[in-house]
Amino acid sequence: MIGKLVFEDGSIFEGRSFGNNTSVAGELVFQTGMVGYPESLTDPSYAGQILILTYPIIGSYGVPQKKYWESDRIQITGLIVSQYIGTPSHFQSRQTLASWLKENNIPALEITDTRTLAIKLREKGTSLGKIIIKNDVQFYDPNKENLVAKVSLQTAYRVGKGRKKIVLLDCGAKKNIERCLVKRGVEVIVAPWDYDPFAEKEQFDGLVISNGPGDPKMAGRTIQTIKKGLISKIPILGICLGNQLLALAAGGDTGKLKFGHRSHNQPCMMVGSTRCYITTQNHGFAVSKIPKGFSPWFINANDKTNEGIIHQKLPVMSVQFHPEATAGPTDTEWIFDFFLEKAKLL
């Protein structure tokens, strides 16, 4: 079946449908990573978005068991690839990408010229879009609603063992953040985005704010919790959306990038050093004003946008990129060690 990808400006691109035959609307974004589609598709930060993968050959190693995913379902709204491979070959493959998409009711199109889509978004900026298969649907702007609330978990759970306890606020957390923390020997309370450990009188030693979708300003309740954390001088680590939320909580500001950073090859300079790290990124918003008492920690070497802030005195810090990677390079996983060490949580 042939479907259409429609941009907000009315431009239309046709392609063969290989996912679920339904129409959807969302925000159009492109991602340039060359591996890791199962991880990307299950990344809750992509909620509300139709994902265009620029690597043209997708599906080659099928889909692995759930334990390798970043959340328990596909999070994207729709998928666009150039060539879909329905004959995977990998020992971990349990099903094809197409059957997985269908199971999750996600539409997907094979539009050969994905490059032109990426260039269009680069030049014109992020656009709303919709995949039309059969019936038409209205455009929909996911950034106008609280996506975090939609993807966050419902009830808290505890995982891992250790002398110290960390509250991980799940604003749409990738599973690997939890894995990275547990691996380092701390107990983790994974809690919903609006969970307030101070109100709950939970005894804990550090706060980690996860990644997540959409406009950070929509997640006001998380910001409130972070504010309390700042006042009580609890160690805090923010990741991606968590970086933006920390900035907002501390009196800084955020803004929307023209088309965002979604790739596995973003170079980030550590301010005041000669070190540059290759990072995984997936964000459309960024910190535009560094809050008082904080210093810029990382800066994007390509477009010079802020990639992290660190408190001048306290063990409070955040990064715009993904130290937990998946998919992408794990070169900044040391951020977890650094945080735990500064926060004296090891």
């Binding site: 492109f30 591996v35 043209p56």
Partner: protein
């Protein structure tokens, strides 16, 4: 650290199997990087055909052998304060390590820039390296270093067969192999120990995947992987012999990142500064856990893989590595492709590349076509596409062997069973896979036989199925069908074959209904940032162009395609210089080439680079899009030249000599008639469609005759036949004679000199010409011959006659551009063998020796005015050099080009010189005399002045007599001379004492093989006579010598000159003079 003032760069010498054009690319980029920093560069590289040995690159060039002796002399003279070891392949690395070990670098205060020497040494010593890896917890295959065959056998017993044998310090895996049993191990180790003193016997990882990472690290520990690559062929086939894709296709994120991390860990642990390559074996079906891997090897230098990675991604690895060696931080280097982003990043591709090696194994008599853990291929191509199918099919066509895609059966006619072709890896295997699928062999079975991951097989199956669905009738080809086929990389010609029409007809149809390809940019960031450079490819898997046409500003220059026997880096030099020169005429150069080992495919050489096929279809696509001023077909060797007629017929303006005139020179009958009209002598010849007519002709003109079949089943193309029996035998064995495949027979003139004229003309008038002379008599291919400038043995009359013939032909053919004529001369009689209306392979040689840039003259000849920037450049160059027509007459020195052979690489190949070319590269050296230049050149291609013993085997009375004086000279070296029985007896009669050795097959002591093994002989002269009964025995001796790394001379003239050189000259008195010191420019 302060920047050095003067840096010495070591090149890799002649192109050879395992070390080819990629090091011209890396060296050239390194020099560029140094020049930008204001550092003076000194280059030692005897390979005169390279771009790095150009005036616009290195400040000072020494055309000297890259050996410690000569490099030390250059260091003494030039006093550099830094040295680059990692840009000239294994040759440079080995030389540098040796200099360091001997304390020479320290003594002269030369610091090694980039990766420290200890690291290089560690990475080269396999045993030490695996110990190091074990220490940091990284897995390597169980392996044990041994220094004798006996120990190897014991170790293998312990590990269990099959085992892998690897030798350190050797280029391209020479002396490596898989042994299935004791006998095979014995064979492999014997050969390996002839080259190295230590080998590793390893656990063999059957059908593991082979994955590589290209890693870059700076002094501040910033570390990136620029590219990963996956070998389609499983472990056991050298990466240089494998079909390789980038990026990897069958790895998931976990495997990709895991191996990436391990590569980075290793690189950090040994403190690489610059570029490095790490190769892994990965189990496709780990029994436990998520990953089962081993590190196979690391190259602490630029390599073939890094050149491929560089072209695959657009990331200038060698340039960046050079900057890092100067202590720059990765973040201080800009990504030149975007002009806005950083060199500290990892390229994101939105396409796939497929590399296929080019083999010429069938050009070697007696060669074994199996491929394995050591290199045999002579070149490679890289197809770029947005589906694997498209990239793969492109690459098969790029090989320039008439393969119309992967379903081609050109190689599979009269072959073994398909299953056998699958099981035993050869250059045919990729095509056998497609055939197997057609025959209904299940992919599971193919995977079991080949070890190739099913992912690749499914893709090939996709191609085969699409081909099967093509309608038999072109009327039924609709838009959808054509798009489907083009997206999968089918050529017009192939679709034409399937629908019983021509490729041109399909092209017309396709254009009419709008099925046309897109011109896309390689931008390193998959569209995230706009690219400044115009590094392009053509694809059907897109619906837009990234660029606008050049129109009349543009001139297309066709490059050489893959390196192969007969077409190599010299045509890259001519292409690059043509592109550069076009700028002076206000034109934008549009270069097309598909060879990742070249400088012409660096995106900063031309205004636009299409990394594309040199097929008619693709050139026409680019032409249709760019609508340029014209196309240059005469500077890239035979491949572009072959496109003249089809492009002309399509209406493409060909710059230079008119295609009709090209045809008059190339069509043997037309050309012969022209020669008769002009009263120019030529050897008697004719074309035959019947064996008996051919024989009658041969008997009439008298044997020997030169046979040139137009269709060959196997083996060589040309052959000299000395009698009826040979003619019969050759025609029965190797060729077909029929109406469709006529045979050309020409009289072969024995003991004739071969002379070449290279020239440039404009509208039929010669602007400059030069005569060069072959050392070897006719009968040795001009590409294998030693060529001397100025001519040493030609009289005025002959020279004048040759010049006049050149002028006559230029006029008659209205030549505009380059041409080359080959002559035979005997008893002051000159005859013409052939003419080529294109730049010859000697263009860089003659240009660099005379100082007259022949390519510049060629480009100028295309335009009505000479360069507007340099109005009368052509004239002034000639005046400045005070030369007239015979440019070579005035040279106050001698330059000599010597061929490089790679026989050791091709198991079983006969190292004899004959009419078919066999050399893989060349060097040229200078001297006061011909002997000086010849000796330097001989050393530069791996020759040695013998110090242990010489073995003589002089076949036939004629050869024996001709060599008497030389044998006497050899006696003055005061080293033992050994000879075969006949030769020994003969020489004794002339008072020359030799020790008689039995031939190999005589199996008697003292035997020549035993002396080879004991390394008592370091020169073999085996002069061959035709029609010998015992030829096979001589072959065994020659081959054994090659297998024991002993230089072999088989040609009388060449052996004689070498003898003169080694008996009258000493290495210590050879001049250490730069190019400039000889030529004065």
């Amino acid at each position: 650290m302060k920047n050095p003032k003067k840096v010495l760069i070591l090149g890799s010498g002649a192109l050879k199997i395992g070390e080819a054009g990629e090091f011209d690319y890396s060296g050239s980029q390194a020099i560029k990087a140094l020049k930008e920093e204001g550092i003076t560069t000194v280059l030692v590289n005897p390979n005169i055909a390279t771009i790095q040995t150009s005036k616009f690159l290195a400040d000072t060039v020494y055309f000297l052998p890259v050996t410690d002796y000569f490099v030390e002399k250059v260091i003494q003279k030039e006093k550099p304060d830094g040295i680059f070891l990692s840009f000239g392949g294994q040759t440079a690395l080995n030389c540098g390590l040796s200099l360091e070990e001997k304390g020479i670098l320290k003594q002269h205060h030369v610091s090694v820039l980039g990766t420290p020497v200890e690291t290089i040494r560690l990475s080269e010593d396999r045993d030490a390296f695996s110990k190091h890896l074990k220490k940091i917890g990284i897995a390597t295959p169980q392996s044990i270093a041994v220094t004798s065959t006996k120990d190897a056998l014991t170790v293998a017993q312990k590990l269990g067969y099959p085992v892998m044998v690897r030798s350190g310090f050797a280029l391209g895996g020479q002396g490596s192999g898989i042994a299935n049993n004791e006998k095979e191990l014995d064979d492999i180790t014997q050969k390996a120990f002839a080259f190295v003193s230590q080998i590793l016997v390893e656990q063999y990882l059957h059908h593991f995947k082979e994955i590589e990472y290209e890693v870059v690290r700076d002094k501040d520990d910033n570390c990136i992987t620029v590219c990963n690559m996956e070998n389609m062929d499983p472990l056991g086939i050298h990466t240089g012999e494998s079909i390789v894709v980038a990026p990897s296709q069958t790895l998931n994120n976990f495997e990709y990142q895991f191996l990436r991390n391990k590569a980075i860990e290793i690189v950090r642990s040994v403190e690489i500064v610059g570029e490095c390559n790490v190769q892994f074996a990965l189990n496709p079906n780990p029994k436990t856990g998520d990953i089962d891997y081993y590190v196979i090897e690391m190259n602490a230098r630029l390599s073939r893989s890094s050149a491929l990675a560089s072209k695959a991604t657009g990331y200038p690895l060698a340039y960046v590595a050079a900057k890092l060696a100067l202590s720059k931080n990765l973040t201080e280097i800009t990504n030149k492709v975007t002009g806005a982003t950083q060199a500290c990043f990892e390229p994101a591709l939105d396409y796939i590349v497929v590399k296929i090696p080019r083999w010429d194994i069938e050009k070697f008599r007696g060669a074994d076509e199996r491929i394995g853990s050591s290199m045999k291929s002579v070149g490679e191509v890289m197809g770029i596409g947005r589906t694997f199918e498209e990239a793969l099919q492109k690459a098969t066509r790029m090989l320039d062997l008439d393969f119309e895609g992967v379903t081609s059966e050109v190689l599979l006619k009269n072959q073994k069973s398909t299953k056998e072709l699958l099981e035993i890896p050869t250059p045919k295997r990729i095509f056998a896979i497609a055939k197997a699928i057609k025959e209904g062999i299940h992919t599971k079975e193919i995977q079991k036989l080949t070890g190739i991951n099913a992912w690749f097989l499914y893709r090939i199956e996709n191609i085969v199925r699409a081909e099967h669905r093509v309608p038999k009738n072109k009327e039924k080809l609709n838009v959808t069908k054509l798009w489907e086929l083009k997206k999968l990389g089918f050529s017009d010609k192939k679709i034409g074959q399937l629908t019983h029409t021509t490729g041109l007809e399909i092209r017309r149809l396709r254009k009419k209904i709008g099925v046309i390809p897109s011109m896309l940019q390689i931008d390193t960031l998959a569209g995230e940032f706009p690219a400044q450079t115009k590094y392009l490819y053509v694809t059907y898997n897109a619906a837009h162009h990234d660029i606008m046409p050049s129109h009349k500003k543009g001139v297309i220059v066709l490059g050489s395609g893959p390196y192969r026997i007969g077409s190599s880096v010299e045509f890259d030099w001519t292409s690059v210089n043509t592109a550069l020169r076009l700028k002076d005429h206000g034109k934008k150069s549009i270069l097309i080439n598909c060879n990742p080992e070249t400088v012409s495919t660096d995106y900063d050489i031309s205004d636009r680079l299409y990394f594309e096929e040199l097929t008619f279809e693709r050139i026409a696509d680019i032409y249709d899009f760019e609508k340029p001023y014209g196309v240059v077909i005469s500077v890239g060797g035979q491949t572009p030249n072959n496109r003249a007629q089809s492009l002309h017929a399509y209406g493409v303006p060909i710059l230079g000599t008119r295609p009709e005139d090209i045809d008059r020179a190339e069509d043997r009958s037309k050309f012969s008639k022209l020669l008769d009209e002009l009263e120019i002598a030529q050897p008697a010849w004719n074309k035959f469609t019947d064996f008996h007519d051919a024989l009658r002709f041969a008997e009439k003109v008298g044997f020997p005759v030169l046979i040139r079949p137009s269709y060959v089943l196997s083996g060589t193309l040309m052959r000299i036949c000395h009698n009826k029996e040979e003619l019969e035998h050759f025609l029965k064995d190797a060729t077909m004679v029929s109406k469709d495949y006529p045979l050309t027979v020409s009289k072969f003139i024995e003991e004739a000199k071969e002379i070449e004229l290279d020239a440039v003309a404009k509208k039929g008038k010669v602007t400059a010409s030069i005569i060069s002379e072959h050392i070897e008599n006719a009968g040795v291919h001009s590409g294998d011959a030693s060529i001397v400038l100025p001519p040493q043995h030609l009289n005025r009359q002959t020279m004048d006659e040759i010049t006049q013939i050149g002028e006559k032909l230029a006029r008659a053919l209205s030549i505009t551009g380059p041409f080359n004529i080959q002559f035979l001369a005997k008893d002051n009689q000159v005859s013409v063998i052939e003419v080529n209306l294109r730049a010859s392979r000697t263009f860089p040689f003659i240009s660099k020796v005379t100082g007259v840039d022949f390519v510049m003259l060629v480009v100028d000849s295309f335009f009505n005015q000479t360069s507007p920037n340099n109005p009368s450049e052509t004239e002034s160059v000639i005046k400045r050099n005070n030369v007239t027509k015979n440019l070579s007459k005035r040279l106050p020195f001698v330059a000599l080009k010597v061929a490089q052979f790679s026989f050791a690489r091709i198991t079983g190949a006969d190292p004899i010189l004959h009419v078919e070319m066999a050399s893989t590269g060349e060097v040229a050296c200078f001297g006061k005399t011909m002997l000086e230049a010849f000796l330097l050149g001989s050393i530069a291609v791996g020759g040695k002045i013998p110090k242990k013993g010489i073995f003589l085997s002089l076949g036939g009375r004629q050869n024996k007599e001709a060599f008497i004086e030389k044998a006497k000279m050899l006696k003055t070296l005061n080293i033992p001379i050994y000879a075969t029985e006949n030769t020994s007896v003969f020489l004794k009669a002339y008072g020359i004492k030799t020790k008689m050795l039995h031939k190999i097959h005589e199996k008697q002591s003292p035997n020549v093989l035993e002396y080879f093994k004991k390394q008592k002989i370091d020169l073999v002269i085996n002069l061959v006579e035709h029609q010998r009964q015992d030829e096979a025995d001589h072959y065994t001796i020659r081959r054994a010598a090659i297998d024991h790394n002993i230089p072999v001379f088989t040609n009388l003239q060449k052996a004689s000159v070498f003898t003169q050189a080694i008996t009258t000259l000493k290495e210590s008195t050879l001049p250490i003079k730069s190019w400039e010191e000889y030529t004065g420019f």
